[in-house]
Symmetry: C2
Subunit: 336 residues, 2 copies
């Protein structure tokens, strides 16, 4: 009889009055150079979908195929390829221009449409009685990247199908960088396959991105370019008010951060060769945002007193009249 | 050394592709006549804020004080007093008329404002460049009830303060019906105190509401009138598309259902004298909606094949292109 897998551990507490009203459990792994585990909470072997936290892995073929350079993509486009953006004008204008540069247009996307999270953009659509289009999809930068690769390879238009050359290249890169054969996949919100790995595999991949240096192997250079593009453009990776953007700006040293649906979060810390991957088991985003901030504070790359840190790590919950009703804070085990 | 409290149990699984990507844990209690436990999952003694699931308890003084009859309130107003409504016109028009009947107006509320959940109402405000007012607050019916009591008692305007006669009456009713002294309170989103009880205490209270009959004691009559008002007006208790409204309509016998923030849910089943209270520990509403539907199916009061049941108990998750990507379904332990 094998030992049971470690249970998820308390990560984030939601306080109201004298008690923690709600609690988020999760798993987290910090990997160092070579992908060895530096520290872990819960079960490093838990199988996870990294969701949008794996966009920098899905963008490796964009550079490695030569497509990015052939299309003259710069750091802004590379950051957007790794982004879950707010659908603000700074995002949609750039994606639209990129798409036009390929001689393509919005119907060539296969990501679907949803209302942008950016309030100004959403209200403008509502006031104009217009529906959102696929440019507003938070994944439209990733899909522009997919289309760039597909065109470069001369492949067909259904680029989100799992046996399409674009997705086959994504899976190969994903398995090589996580260091594991992926046992399967799910379909993501944007219709692309999202591949399974262990949480350790994902943290190992993030440590690889942390160690990558331009001028090394083709893969090293590609990973370093994507990471540095994210770090250079925190506003393009997410948007105003979002955890990725605010915490990247707040860090005391260069750090790339990326959230994923269902409460996934990663960090890439190149100055220390460290990668972090965490998953809150219930899918509650507020829990993952608090936990990643706490781990960055624990490592000393984020100042606990920074206002942006406080917005996520010790968030004061205010009600509809502005009265403090409680606090979102990390479980003691993440800080000790 | 005392035994540790029972851990929360799996309640709701979020499937995507070959795995359950996320999981909600929780506690649930079903109480029968007299408040004895019929069945329980997790820890019946866990301390909880029932949040908006306790609105029918907070409305008892409205009837018992004589205020409701003095103001000629009917079942529609009583249902609104127990509601977390969508802020649609059917809700805000009735609350505005009720308030005007008291000779009061919107600034007399102490609930604060937020954008209505009803899409038509929200879009109309955005297109008119107007801000929401306190009538749109999902708790405005409860607050109209509080103001009705305050006026009837000749009490002051700050009716959400914990030592105000209205809140003292709410606490007395809460403790008597849960059968427990409340150990403390938190401030709710709408600024009213929300009192702590055990999950068993809340299920006991719901069983009392299930057993209550008009023509009995003052409290019995008050509880029966509130319960029957909720059952008569599922559209006023929540709104179109919402779990409370759709599942109340779908039940094969009269049932009152009420959600609360942070994934609380209750059910009152008068035909069987049963009350249910459940709390998903992470606060994820989708988990509580699925779990309450599963328990209602387990008891035979809701048909598993009803389309409204399927929307919450076996919800097919579709992505932005309408592709099925997974399912929200109850953990096996809730159905077995």
């Amino acid at each position: 009889m094998s030992n049971p897998a470690p249970a998820p551990v308390p990560m984030t507490e939601i306080w109201r009055g004298p008690i923690a009203e709600s609690m988020h459990l999760g798993h987290a792994v910090i990997c160092g150079p070579g992908g060895q585990i530096v520290e872990a909470w819960g079960d490093p072997n838990v199988q996870v979908y990294p969701r949008s936290s794996s966009k920098m892995l899905q963008a490796l073929p964009l550079i490695e195929s030569g497509a990015a350079d052939a299309a003259n993509l710069g750091p802004e486009q590379l950051a957007l390829a790794c982004a879950s953006h707010n659908g603000a004008a700074i995002h949609t204008d750039r994606v639209a221009k990129w798409l036009a540069g390929l001689g393509l247009s919005e119907p060539d996307f296969r990501c679907g449409s949803h209302m942008p999270e950016d309030k100004d953009a959403a209200y403008a659509l509502i006031r104009a009685h217009e529906e959102p289009c696929q440019l507003h999809n938070n994944c439209s930068g990733k899909h522009a990247g997919f289309l760039t690769v597909a065109q470069h390879l001369g492949a067909g238009p259904e680029y989100v199908e799992v046996d399409h050359p674009v997705q086959r290249a994504c899976l190969a890169a994903f398995e090589e960088v996580t260091g594991e054969a992926s046992p399967g996949y799910g379909i993501d919100g944007c219709s692309a396959p999202n591949f399974l790995t262990s949480l350790h595999g994902m943290a190992r991949a993030m440590a690889f991105f942390a160690e990558a240096r331009e001028g090394g192997s083709l893969r090293d250079s590609a990973a370093a370019r994507l990471r540095d593009a994210m770090i250079a453009h925190p506003d393009l990776v997410a948007g105003e008010g979002r955890a990725c953007t605010l915490l990247m700006r707040a860090c005391k040293e260069p750090v790339a951060l990326k959230t994923g649906a269902e409460a996934f979060f990663i960090a890439i810390i190149p100055g220390r060769g460290l990668g972090i991957a965490l998953k809150v088991t219930d899918g509650g985003t507020r829990g993952a945002e608090c936990a990643i901030a706490a781990l960055l504070v624990r490592l000393g790359v984020l100042d606990a007193a920074h206002p942006s840190t406080q917005m996520f790590m010790n968030k004061v919950v205010r009600n509809w009249r502005g009265i403090d009703t409680g606090m979102i804070k990390p479980a003691p085990g993440l800080l000790a």
